[in-house]
């Protein structure tokens, strides 16, 4: 139920869950990501009323309804823009953004590029299942070139998948990490680090779509710790990412770019501005 955090009591993940039952398929990786998110919120003790989650459209973008903080469930691909506007207008809020690989890198690709380079203080959790779940199984920008299960691309998409982590690094994201939904505690840790790190944080979470890509269950055996300490040097992080097999988990970059924020203190009243028009 939508109760308030009790004064003094340490928050628990359940405080950040809504009572809405997810529409996801049984076994969908996004359940565990949601668990990681609420654990992270509890670990940080976020105030619910000062926290906002923003998403686009897709299975993964349903997350706002399943949390008990403020949320904005928008249209396909625009989550980062909505969140950027919100954070710039309300720097006092903690703003997290959620979505899928299609939402983030296909229709929202341009916003991803610019969110990375703009470096607004947001945390973006992108749930990558290398498929469009919500529209029932089409190739996404992270799908392998030879994946032939979609009716739209029966011969396979035939084009190389993009590499979200490398893309984020090359566009200037200030914090870049990878998690796996099968390990919600690690997801929670990465989110906490991402939120605490100033600037735009990208957390790429491998989150299997058991319905349209049942073979992704094997990711459980493929993932491994990335195994190095986070660096603040994007070039070093990029070398490590290119050497990685795509299943390495951990923080690749914790950079030190200054977050983008225009000044907000008023220095003039309207009357003064109006005087400029008088003849």
């Amino acid at each position: 139920m939508d109760t308030h955090l009790k004064d003094g009591a340490a928050p628990v993940p359940g405080d950040y869950k809504s009572d809405v039952k997810p529409i996801w398929c049984p076994g969908c990786g996004d359940y565990s990501v949601l668990a990681g998110i609420t654990r992270a919120m509890a670990a940080m003790g976020l105030e619910r009323h000062n926290t906002a989650v923003v998403s686009g459209i897709g299975c993964s973008s349903r997350i706002p309804a399943y949390t008990s903080v403020y949320g904005f469930h928008g249209v396909h691909g625009r989550a980062l823009a909505v969140a950027s506007g919100l954070k710039l207008a309300r720097p006092d809020l903690t703003v997290l953004v959620f979505g899928g690989d299609g939402d983030g890198f296909s229709i929202g690709g341009n916003h991803f590029l610019h969110a990375c380079r703009r470096n607004v203080d947001l945390t973006y959790i992108v749930m990558d299942n290398q498929v469009y779940g919500m529209t029932k199984g089409q190739a996404s920008p992270t799908t392998e070139a030879d994946w032939c299960e979609s009716k739209l691309t029966p011969e396979g998409p035939g084009v190389n998948p993009i590499q979200p982590v490398a893309l984020a690094l090359s566009c200037g994201a200030n914090f870049v990490a990878r998690g796996y939904s099968g390990d919600p505690n690690e997801v929670a840790r990465l989110i906490v680090e991402g939120v605490r790190h100033p600037g735009f944080a990208v957390i790429h979470v491998l989150s299997p779509c058991v319905t349209f890509r049942p073979e992704q269950r094997s990711w459980k055996g493929a993932v491994h710790p990335y195994g190095r300490e986070p660096t603040d040097d994007p070039a070093q992080a990029m070398r490590a990412v290119l050497e990685d097999d795509g299943f390495g988990l951990g923080i690749f970059l914790a950079g030190n770019r200054r977050p983008f924020h225009p000044a907000v203190a008023a220095t003039a009243g309207i009357a003064e501005i109006e005087e400029g028009f008088a003849v």
Partner: protein
């Protein structure tokens, strides 16, 4: 005998400084108490190339361009053919030309206008640091009888920083031009200023729109540059910062509008400005604003369309997309300013309405309002500011219903930061609780509610500007109002009678109010600047127009002139 309006064009290529001269002329006229309007025309080149500053001056407020040019001063004739159609002349017109620049182009000479030769370049060359535009300005000032005090004030203001030598050169150029013109005897001296006593402003429509937005309470703007809307952003950038707001140059229009929705969800009144192509890109997200009930103002400074059309010239042809462009049943607000000064009022009202009704408001300005500059009486202060109905008594006991089905249709909103109001705003159809729902009853309830909040709202007298009386009515909107108003005034000056109804609130429609405004009318003239008579069809779809209806509709880029409307009106009398 003094005249009560003079229309002047200063023509020349890039380096001649026609825009500066036009601007100084308008400023100087304003300084001595006249009113005026300046629009500009230039070719498709980015910088330099052919250009004209078009200025109309009058002792009383100016509503639109003159019927024809009384005086053209040409510094050179480079490519003037490209916009000769924008320079209507008659046998009563005067062309001042520098013989060193060759003959007056045939397209203009064919008007039969009187041609006066003046060695502009040579006169300027005789002065150290002399410039042709000041020589031209002096000739124009002499011709219209501009008191010297006007130009003194303007030169001091414009050139103060450049030092004494620059001021002296400008004065000498001005005097040389004035001396030449002293003997012309053109009879174009303007009547003395009437002096309403009001404080007067020199402002462009785009600046006025920016100011209106600020006055309405806008403190966030995200936008992508596009002609002819960019000046709104350029004006807002420093002025939002001064008032504690933020402007972001977004990566595209999809980001612009959705950033605004995000900021507005955060409780900060937000605005974006664009032109036709950008509005097309925004329509999906404007629907998101409707469904999620997030206020936002979109100023569309219309230009010739479709596609990239004629970016630097005016038209009113985005009406259809503004009213009908959203998918689904998506009631929203559409307003149109009726003059340069009214861009202020309408933008301020738009912010107020969007916030009060928690829905997007599209304001349809256009190039001819936005990029023109006028001397106007300082607009009266309007009481409209942003005021969102906030949720109260959020104790966390009962679940907060973001989309509560209230009698007014307006649901009290909780803003992030308000404890107990946590909810997810959603573009998916939802129940009153804000939870996604695809149930028929919820869809019906929310559609009804979103429509009701617009239809039940009292928009007061501002839905239209209504003037005059009689059995003939001119029904118009937006920038077509200026020439229509002038046409009605001309008819009245000749003893005729007509009503003017300029609709400011295009959506939601106000059938009862228009019916009242047109009571007793037997003939209607619809005036608009489109090729497909969009406004006429819009009226036909939503209103009962009395008696016989005549349509004056033609596309841009040439501005609608009062003469055209007057002729159409006379044919109805």
């Amino acid at each position: 005998m003094a005249v009560d309006s003079v229309t002047i064009a200063l023509v020349g290529s890039g380096g001649a400084g026609v825009m500066t001269a036009g601007q100084m002329l308008l400023d100087a006229a304003a300084a001595v108490g006249w009113y005026g309007l300046m629009s500009r025309s230039s070719g498709p080149q980015i910088r330099g190339g052919e250009a004209a500053a078009m200025v109309r001056l009058s002792p009383s407020p100016v509503h639109g361009p003159g019927d024809r040019f009384d005086l053209i001063v040409a510094f050179d004739w480079q490519n003037v053919e490209r916009f000769a159609a924008e320079l209507p002349l008659s046998a009563d017109s005067v062309i001042v030309t520098d013989p060193a620049q060759g003959a007056v182009p045939a397209v203009l000479a064919a008007s039969g206008a009187r041609i006066i030769e003046m060695p502009i370049k040579e006169l300027a060359a005789r002065i150290a640091g002399g410039r042709v535009n000041m020589v031209g300005l002096g000739a124009v000032a002499q011709t219209v009888g501009l008191p010297r005090a006007g130009i003194d004030a303007v030169i001091a203001k414009a050139l103060g920083k450049k030092g004494e030598a620059a001021i002296q050169a400008s004065n000498a150029g001005y005097d040389a031009g004035a001396k030449e013109a002293a003997g012309w005897g053109l009879g174009l001296e303007l009547a003395a200023p009437q002096g309403t006593g009001a404080v007067r402003w020199n402002i462009s429509g785009n600046e006025a729109a920016g100011l209106g937005a600020l006055k309405g309470g806008v403190r966030f703007c995200a936008a992508y540059p596009i002609t002819p809307a960019t000046e709104i952003l350029e004006w807002l950038a420093p002025n939002l910062a001064r008032t504690g707001g933020t402007l972001v140059q977004a990566e595209d229009e999809l980001a612009s509008i959705t950033m605004c929705l995000g900021a507005s969800f955060g409780g900060v009144p937000s605005l974006t400005a664009t032109a036709g192509p950008g509005l097309s890109l925004m329509t999906e997200a404007i629907g998101l604003g409707v469904a999620s009930e997030t206020p936002v103002v979109i100023i569309d400074v219309q230009r010739g369309g479709p596609s990239t059309g004629i970016p630097t010239k005016s038209e009113q042809s985005d009406l259809n997309i503004a009213v009908y462009g959203l998918h689904g049943d998506a009631p929203h607000l559409v307003v149109g300013p009726t003059s340069i000064g009214d861009c202020l009022f309408t933008a301020q009202w738009a912010v107020h309405l969007a916030e009060a009704l928690q829905t997007p408001c599209i304001m349809l300005s256009d190039q001819s309002l936005g990029q023109a500059r006028a001397v106007i009486d300082r607009p009266a202060d309007a009481p409209f500011t942003a005021g969102r109905l906030l949720a109260e008594g959020l104790d966390g006991e009962a679940r907060y219903k973001r989309y509560a089905d209230t009698p007014s249709g307006i649901s009290p909103v909780a803003i992030p930061g308000m404890p107990g109001g946590e909810h997810t705003a959603d573009g998916l159809e939802h129940a009153e609780s804000a939870l996604p729902s695809s149930q028929a009853a919820d869809h019906q309830t929310q559609l009804d509610k979103r429509l009701r909040k617009l239809t039940a709202f009292d928009f007061g007298p501002h839905w239209a500007e209504i003037e005059g009386e009689g059995e003939v009515a001119v029904v118009t909107w937006g920038s077509a109002t200026g020439p229509a108003r002038e046409a009605v005034k001309r008819l009245e000056a000749a003893g005729g009678k007509a009503r003017l109804v300029a609709i400011r609130l295009l959506a939601p429609v106000q059938p009862a109010k228009l019916a009242q405004a047109l009571e007793g009318v037997t003939r209607v003239l619809v005036v608009e600047q489109t090729h497909g008579a969009q406004f006429h069809k819009f009226l036909r779809a939503h209103y009962d127009l009395p008696g016989s209806v005549t349509v004056f509709s033609r596309p841009g880029p040439l501005p609608i002139r009062a003469r055209e409307v007057h002729e159409a009106l006379l044919s109805l009398i």
